[in-house]
Symmetry: C2
Subunit: 341 residues, 2 copies
Amino acid sequence: MRALTAPQLTEDALIASLRDALGRPPRALRVGIGDDAAVWKTPGSHLTVLTTDMLVDGVHFRSHATSPEDLGVKSLAVNLSDIAAMGARPAVAVIALGITEEVDADWLRRLYRGMASLANSSQCAIAGGDVVRAPVLTIGVTIAGHVRPSRLRVRSGAKPGDVIAVTGSLGRAAAGLRVLDRQLADALESGDRATVCDAYLRPTPRLREGAFLGGSTAVHAMMDISDGLSTDVGRMAFASGVDAVVDIRLLTLDPAVRAAAKLTGDDALRLTFDGGDDYELLIAIRRRSFTQVARGLHGRCGTALRAIGAFEKGSGAVWSVDDSGRRPLPPRGYDHLSQRA
Amino acid sequence: MRALTAPQLTEDALIASLRDALGRPPRALRVGIGDDAAVWKTPGSHLTVLTTDMLVDGVHFRSHATSPEDLGVKSLAVNLSDIAAMGARPAVAVIALGITEEVDADWLRRLYRGMASLANSSQCAIAGGDVVRAPVLTIGVTIAGHVRPSRLRVRSGAKPGDVIAVTGSLGRAAAGLRVLDRQLADALESGDRATVCDAYLRPTPRLREGAFLGGSTAVHAMMDISDGLSTDVGRMAFASGVDAVVDIRLLTLDPAVRAAAKLTGDDALRLTFDGGDDYELLIAIRRRSFTQVARGLHGRCGTALRAIGAFEKGSGAVWSVDDSGRRPLPPRGYDHLSQRA
């Protein structure tokens, strides 16, 4: 095939090229790339779930500091994370791309290959989209998924007495961003480097975990932690009409986050509390079921579930508690508009 | 409520404000704005249809030359047009907004009010989205809809012998853009001015027409004309593996397009052939059924269906024909990458 470079790039040629990069569409898809819309059958017993994200160069990623493959993975992952947080399974993704004059067809094919690798392993079809000119690289990802009504979880179901629990480790992506920004990655031990940099560059959406947790009646509320724990736990508390009390003594600091923070001069606890881009799941779970669910999650997915506090009667306030007592925990995570990160 | 202006704009406050602007969500929506994803039930007998578009300030619209309400209407309309072109009905929209520092909460509420007005009249719920910072105003609209399998129409179904037909009038939006760009609107007679400017600023998606045409077994293929007839008829021909022959003698020039073209010094026929942003429907229809379907469409929706040529055996070529004979018709419509408009 003729190599497409920016000057010759036309929309129809590009779409044909990207279709090649994505490989054969799954059979469940009735209509895929190249028509006015994607078409598929939602299973009759399921609800449809839909979520959209926009990622902008210089705001959500740095195109000069990431490979197109990683950027493809990340832009799909942040969206799949929202699907996971509903207890749902992904089905179909559509991609809207705003590309600059500097982007050539080879770069786009590599971006799509990154997307396709995560889409395939997530059983999600990339089924079309839109490619337009923009003054800055902009990636809009929208994913539709399915969930049985009984497995749907929202963020507003937390009850007083519920345990606040999180999957995996927090702060890794924020640590990775700081290490990469300061070009200190080479100074980290290779295991720690991979842990924090991969968490930032190509996060893993907690799809299997979300589906497992949605299957437990003990899980009352679920959301993903995309903007930092201190911000997102407040959102769950507010939506549920309860207060959240995070026990700092229960917040295990990840060893790789500690190592990275030492290197960059950051506070590891702040990265853990406020760091965005984690894409772990935050859940409210019935106290007496916590141990059983945590054991089940670890057995099924190999993923740790950690209790980090409790919800109590209230109206959306967030507190931290340690040996010195209780104090308000301000939302210091990522705000997409004030860009306070 | 406290007036939100840009410096105080936080994501959570903005989402609360926009939720107010949109009014009560429809009951069919299980989960709307404010969670990780929107959730609803697709009717068991239907297919789900999904389409996404990205609109960028300076490329697809000019924020200084449109009201936020009109921009809201237009950004939703271009997407609803794709739903209409599949023979489907819209159900749920999610909006991803990239906003600059200049955008304040009042402007955003007006944008959402414009979206809400068209969404409500189209029975489409605006169910959430994403708001981020961007260096240029960017609007990503994704709409999911439903269609019975028998009513689904794609662009690849045209057969040799089918009539090429279009709804409504072509070239109005392109004429409107030229009139507005050259600030000549006041020099047009008011009826013509409204016709061409409205077509560009707040197009009407052909939802009722698409649903009606999808219900006819004589309609073999359907798509919307968003990038200009000469480009889009070639796409249908190519997807269907047929040639398209457009008869220039059948292309009625819209009187308002004529008047506008005279004013701006443009060629009215070129605007009709190549002008983008029309959002009319292009269909391939069994020859012997054309008159009956056209009469039915006019009776049901008050919309004209015009035969402008025929498909014939071939491999995706497009021809124009008039008294002087047949010649190739190059795709001179809007290409989103080469920006040749």
